[in-house]
Symmetry: D3
Subunit: 248 residues, 6 copies
């Protein structure tokens, strides 16, 4: 089966990460994953949410938004509608959980790293692109902290990346673009660490129920795709291996 | 291993559903699942969201909220904080997707069924309780429509119920209460239909990564638990089987 | 004259109060007053509003809301409309004033008791039901404070309950249900203490002006009704008299 | 007993109404009642709220707000606080009900008269000042409608005015200023029509319970005060009697 | 060319300033400039915005709003629309900048003077009226501070006033009323100090582009008009000269 | 005098415009002006604001926002603060007015062109960068309309661009970067059309008053700078002259 854009079922779209694209942020990465473009920054703030004050523990908090014309039809800004977008809220909670899993929050110390993910152009897979690029930005923010001796040890303990998979016309496809996503019976998003363990799995079948073996096949496809993204992240970060990255 | 409340690993807490608890709603169900109490109503409105006008297709929309003192510590109302609660938004989107999967939206016709889930008391598993009870309320609202010949055929096509499972101290447990949930390394929520196919799977390991086989064991536990909930739903609805429910 | 539901003019609908219905709240009461059902909780918070800080004086603050399907037609949630409901604001101010009158705020000490009144089902008289049941919840919260020696003396100094009366077709009726309320030319709400003195009187005649003697007759009816509610409250609280309640 | 400002117990503060103070509004009145100054406008809009569309019936809707420095201490604007002021909401509902009682809404026809009451300076009694002046503005807006033959008959059917009374140091006082109001054990607001019948009665005793005879004395004082305000309104409106005002 | 109201091109409308119109504010002024009426108060608050805490420096902050019926057609309140009015925000920023330029913020000390400008009736030129009258209110608030020895020296260092000019039918006109403003091809607002230097210049030509010489002519007209306003301000403030005002 | 970045007083920073950077928008341009980066899109919507319905006339509406980490310190999103940013509102009104001046709104027909300006990185001059790049995006959106024969004639009638100038240490500088802007005694923003006429002039001297001749010198500097920007716009748009652009 040939896909809309000529890819094979297990091909990722071309992915490029422009690291350090923002001159003010402690870490930043602009990811261009096919026609999906997301700008991610990591900002250090010397404060933690109320529930962590005095615990010595840090936090990673994510925000996600789409520019009005990142989509086929212009969408209204959240501030114009007067309320946060529910889908965006759900996505930013996922990004936050995923990146917190990559960091030792005690080693980070009582400070917050804010992850801002702004979608400049959307063509499916914005949440997985955001997670994958934000990890790069987060690493650079942690390096910035280490270089200035703000933290004693490097707080990053896992490498996380994410990809989607879906079932389209009975076929399991890796990395859906928008048009495929719209036609999918089932789709899933997988966040996985460097050791093959998972941070988060989500599968949803609004238009069709799915049996367990379909999910198993989507999951295997995603595992395979994330391994490739892990390699790309290391390359962009200028290291040969996860061990080199975390300095073991 | 004995659990906090003396249950075995694969035991559900006691579940009771008080069907028809609200005298105005077209369908309603108050679920008492251990110490988690959720009041669910299904309300018919002869209108659909903008994007469906003129399509002949209906919609199911869910809203979820917690009463201020449904929790150990009182929480502020959303209207007092001035913004919707992000966790609640995420949950109501899940409830909406799950229940839409149980209905033939064309058979429903151009109208909306509003599902309101209000948590009176929370002790873990509020979202799975909400889905399980809302299905009962939704069936009664659809019967109400059929009895009045507003719809020609019965719009319910699948039976959905949900349960959580988690990994606590290395042990897979079914149906976590709040205290177990707080201690869990991983937890997952599963929504499943009467034929064993899934509507939605979510697993999250904020405090610990989890290997694929752990997820597989949690999923098997959830499957087993949901089958029991399916039987309870049929009993509460006064039918002997799914086939009798949908009139096949 | 026989009323819609067969009652006599001076009859109350059947009232039941399920005390302690919430396992987390310091005090709680679910009142079922005819078809009006209101869940009231009293929550202790060790903080006071800004204007009382450092004064040694406490506060009682009430919030009132209706579940979306507590009414004949589903109503939108306040957070969905984006603004607080003005009628609800007016009612919660009344509940707050009424319950503050029952407490010695200095004996309460610098803390707040939050009264949350959530209407599960509405059939007229929700504000008077909320006041009557909240008093029970408030007493239990004060007992909780006394049992833990957080306060030195029992802070409750008055017993308050409330009822409505109205003029329907020229007849004074006690305790209007929704249908009667809609047909009333005048209606009034009365909050009265155990010694027959008033906390609050409100009478409104939007559809008809009313002479002073009509008001006098409604007031007498309400006095009579509240005395019965005072007896019910004592019974539910397990005491024989107001003096026993406050420990004199 | 001499009062703070030298008045006797049954004296009103000096009241002046500057009718027609706004050049755009269909009716307007600036009331200076002691140091309480309220600007009231009546604006005709050829639209009614949703629930009245197609009924041929009109509506009167009131809004009430205080300028930031109308009070001793500057108060924040509602838009800066991000939410409507609850006390203001309660007051504007009272003003709306009071003025609707003075109009035959069918004779008004399917249009709304908006009553805007903005407090320029507050020294107690702003709600009663607002009602008393808004009646003057409303009459002029109705005359404007009649002069242009928009309505066939004059829609005003009752004359309404309002005053406060209270119990201060055991003494019943008419028309409390801010300082007296702060010291009052009980206070009440009374809205009365030209024929001595009531539109609305409210009495509240947050700091002290009050027996029925206290209320009766406050009510008698208010009746006496409102009769004087009725005469002032007629004078300002340039008519000798209520009958002349409504053209009977 | 004769103008709508019979004025010559370089005539101001009649301007009156009622100083001290509010009994609570530290400074206040009601300006009646033709049919434009703006009530300005200056309120001292012993607090500064976050960014100035601990700097010893004070602040002047302005808020601007229009009463609903200050305009030909009633406009909705900001709180009813749920969001601040953008034009109002722009104007209050201009007023704030203009008045800060008149004060030595260090001499003011770590406190804020709030300037509230509420438009009672609008007929063009509300922002220039607000600036001109607010200066008077601000001076009185500073005198209040000096009289109580809260500040050591008089913090006012410049006298500011403002006027509009515009191009209507090819003619430069000073001080546009609403009708002229609506017909203007270009209009500008000028804020100028006592020494002829400018605080702010704004010219806008939405309906027509304008050459530099047009702007020069409008600016000259405005300079001339502001000089007259400076004289009026001094007169209202009871001093013969700027030097006397600032005590040099 | 040498400037921070080595420029001469009358030098612009390097400016690049990446036209067509967004694949969905009818027109788009990413401007990189020194370290200020703004992404501008022009989106056609077949609707106009209420006040234009039925007039046959179109509208151009602008929105401006900064990404949270476009600035040295991360700033909170507007939706997180719960209210629109006042400075942003002022800027988007300026952008809207400026671009409307470049279009014949009747030739545009009853539709809206939405201009979205999102600042990716800010180093001074974001509003002038936004205007200059939005003009390019707007032209492409108008060409898109013409190519599809949605409009009969090309609606663009003027070419607009903008630049800032300021007074720093007594020297007039063209095109201030952030550091210069912070140090400026006066700064001005100028929007000018291809024929040398102005659309908008703004000069503000919060930290220092400025005499007329200073303004004149800033204005001359800005005129000179804008002429260079006009040439750059034409080049980016692939035409040799303004006449060729508008097809005369």
């Amino acid at each position: 089966m040939e896909r809309i854009d000529g890819r094979g079922c297990m091909d990722l779209r071309p992915v490029e990460i422009d690291r350090g694209c923002n001159r003010y942020a402690e870490g930043s990465a602009l990811i261009r994953w096919g026609n999906t473009h997301v700008l991610c920054t990591a900002s250090v703030e010397e404060k933690v949410p109320q529930f962590l004050r005095g615990t010595g523990q840090g936090w990673v908090s994510a925000e996600y938004a789409m520019l009005p014309r990142s989509t086929h039809q212009r969408t209204q800004r959240e501030i114009s509608r007067g309320r946060p977008n529910a889908r965006g809220q759900e996505i930013q909670r996922l990004i936050g959980r995923s990146l917190r899993a990559s960091v030792d929050l005690e080693a980070l110390g009582e400070r917050t790293v804010w992850i801002d993910c702004d979608v400049l152009q959307a063509d499916g897979g914005t949440r997985t692109a955001a997670i994958t690029a934000s990890f790069v930005a987060l690493v650079d923010a942690c390096r910035w902290l280490l270089d200035r001796s703000v933290v004693k040890g490097f707080p990053v303990v896992h490498q996380v990346a994410a990809v989607s998979a879906g079932l389209v016309d009975g076929e399991v496809l890796l990395d859906l673009c928008y048009e495929e996503d719209s036609a999918a019976q089932v789709d899933c998003n997988v966040v996985m660490a460097e050791d093959g363990r998972f941070v988060e799995l989500q599968a949803t079948g609004e238009d069709a129920l799915f049996p367990r073996q379909t999910f198993d096949r989507m999951l295997s496809a995603a595992e395979e795709g994330i391994r490739r993204l892990h390699r790309l992240q290391l390359e962009v970060l200028g290291v040969a291996s996860f061990e080199e990255l975390v300095g073991r």
